[in-house]
Structure formats: C-alpha cells, structure tokens
C-alpha cells in the first residue's frame, strides 16, 4: 500500500504493464510508470521518485472486526464475483517463473514473509512461521518479534520498549508475556496487563511483505533466510 500524494501531487494509479512478473502502474496525472513491489518510478516524468509505504496488516476479517469494530470492509463488484477466488494460490504454484533462483536453497514459488529493518532484508518461510508461531529474532542490531496468528496473519514488531528488548513467550493463543516485567501483550502489540499496560505501551509494528521467494530475492538480492 502506498501514499498517493507525492511532490505535492495526488496520483491516480492504473494497472499498466508487467515487468518480470510484477506489475507496473501508470498514473493519470503525469503518465509515469511505477513498479508495484518497490513503489519506485521507473519511467516517465517522475522517474526516480519513490512512493511512501503505508503500513498495512494481513489479518483475518474476524481479527479485523475485533480490532476495528467501526471499520469498513471493501465490497466486491457485483458483476465480478466469478473473478474472485479464495484459493487461487494452488492454481498459480505450477506456473513458470522467469527469474533464476537455482543457486538458492528455496524453490522459486516458496511463499515467504519478507522484512526489512535498517536496510537489511530477511525472508521467513511460511512453513517455518506455521511451525514456530512466536519468533524472537534480531536483524542488524534490532531485536524483533514475529507473531503468527496462523496462515497469512502475521505481525512483526520492534520488541524494544524504552530501548530495552522484551523477552516474550506465549501464554495462550492470544497473548504473550515478557520475562522481565511480566506484562501481558496482545496481538496488536499492546500491553493489556502489568506495568507496561499502565503506560499504554505498544511495540512499533514493522512492515511485512508476503511474496514468492523469486520476487522477494529479485528486489532484495542480499536477503538472508531465517534459520538457514
């Protein structure tokens, strides 16, 4: 998701092309071309400009209802219902890829969650996240938390509060407890019990990008893979 306002202009994007299996957008206002995965303008009058990312989470709609009861959910176009598929990934898996990943340990269409902290990229395999619901990791010198709610529902946090890293472990499916202060944290990353709750502390969320390995690696050539 991207902020559409850049250099004083609000742009309106259209699907306009394909570049190594990642799509290109074109804006009505300047006619420039933008790469979807990176937000970079690759041709036209705004070439070189970079869209600003807007933080978003992939959640189940049930979780969204809990966290944002007054929120709104996009409706599909009535005439397009046949085009919407809930389980389209199995159909895409056997399709060919055009980027060579044979020198890496993962197959091209392995699904990974990608995180970038301080310019360093790391990929987490979907199968790994399913097996290890709570991962305490460090990228560069930043202590982070990956918390999987099952399937695609994944949040990543910078697990420092006031500069001190939290050592978190699950108490039940919905909560984590930190070893030092004993506060209880919910899936939003906010303390709901204990000393941190009194100061309404929330961890800072980090952007997560679900992607195929070939695409993630194409745009983050120096990426590491968690646990490999």
């Amino acid at each position: 998701m991207w902020a559409r306002t850049i250099q004083g202009k609000t742009l309106t994007f259209h699907l306009a092309g394909i570049h190594n299996q990642n799509f290109l957008m074109r804006d009505e206002e300047t006619g420039s071309f933008w790469q979807q995965v990176s937000g970079e303008c690759i041709a036209g009058p705004m070439k070189g400009a970079q869209l600003e990312r807007v933080h978003n989470d992939e959640l189940t709609v049930a979780r969204f209802r809990v966290e944002s009861p007054a929120g709104q959910v996009l409706l599909g176009e009535p005439g397009r219902m046949n085009s919407y598929e809930r389980d389209w990934e199995p159909g895409i898996d056997p399709l060919p890829t055009v980027v060579d990943t044979s020198d890496s340990p993962l197959p091209p269409r392995a699904l990974v969650a990608g995180i970038v902290v301080g310019g360093q990229a790391r990929a987490y395999e979907a199968s790994r996240l399913e097996a290890e619901r709570v991962i305490l990791d460090e990228i560069g010198n930043v202590p982070i938390l990956l918390w999987s709610g099952g399937g695609r529902m994944l949040r990543a946090f910078d697990r420092r509060i006031d500069g001190r890293p939290l050592l978190l472990a699950p108490t039940d499916a919905e909560h984590l407890r930190d070893a030092d202060a004993g506060s209880l944290w919910d899936f939003r990353g906010c303390a709901i019990e204990g000393p941190h709750a009194r100061s309404n502390a929330c961890m800072v969320t980090l952007p997560v990008l679900w992607d195929y390995w070939f695409d993630w690696r194409e745009y983050h050539p120096a990426t590491s893979i968690y646990g490999r």
Partner: protein, 162 residues
Amino acid sequence: MPTSTRRPFVLLGLGAVLLAAATLITPLWVMRPFRPQGPTELAVALWVLRFGPWLLLGAGLLAVAAVVRAWPGGWWRRSGAVAMLLLTLGAGGLSRINVFEKMFEPMPAPRFAGASESSLPDDAIVMAVRVGAAARAYPVEVMAYHHVLNDVVGDQPIGVTY
C-alpha cells in the same frame, strides 16, 4: 511514368500502417506474461506507450498524405490508399486500449460495508489499514483480481495494490 506517382503513395501508406502497427504491438509483445523483460526492451515498450499518441498522429498524417497523393490516380489507387488509412486508424484505435485493465478491470467507485455487516467468512484474509480513527480492510480475494485500487482513508489518499 506510372511507377513514380504510384510509389510515393504506396510508401506513405505502408509507412503509416507499419508505424501504427508497431505502436500497437511493441508494448504487447515485450510485456507478455511468463517471460522476462530486459531493461532495454522494457524501456522501449514504455517509451512507445508514453509517446503513442504522437506516433499515431504521425501515422495518421502519413496515411492522409497517401490518400491525397493517390486521389488523382483513379479509383484503384484511391481504394488502396483509403484501405491503408483504415488499417492505420484500426491499429491506432486498438493501441489505445489498456489490455491490462481489460483483463483486470479497475474499481473506480469502491463500495464498503461495516465490519460487522461484511458477509466474508471469518477466516478470509484482508489487508487492513488504519489512518487516525479510520480503519479499512481490503479482502485479498477482491484485490487479487483488481490489483490496483485508488482510495482515501481518513484524509490520506492511498493506493492499495496486490
């Protein structure tokens, strides 16, 4: 010398048809799915898309010039030149169609339901965004078809992509 009058209108007409056809085919050929796009060919394809209207204007002028040149030469030449003009206009018209938006139609006027009124099954995945007090969710199954949505959440214009 009939050839000296015939050739210029044939050359003008063929030039028009080829220019319009190249404007139509180049981006489609380069950006067809399941093949890699090299940097140079992609740059050429995007250049053709950007300057397509000018290329088509040039092709149209060439085709009209061919008709003008062929007109005094009789019905056969007139029909030939007009046929090339029509081919030029046809290829030019087709090149103005965005095939990507034909395959994946845009959503210019998105509609929303309250979180509790949505009929999605509980485990459907949405992309959730919050701007100030405003929260919106975009079902992945909808975005995986449309790919691009221009929206405003709170006071922030955002581009939702999937």
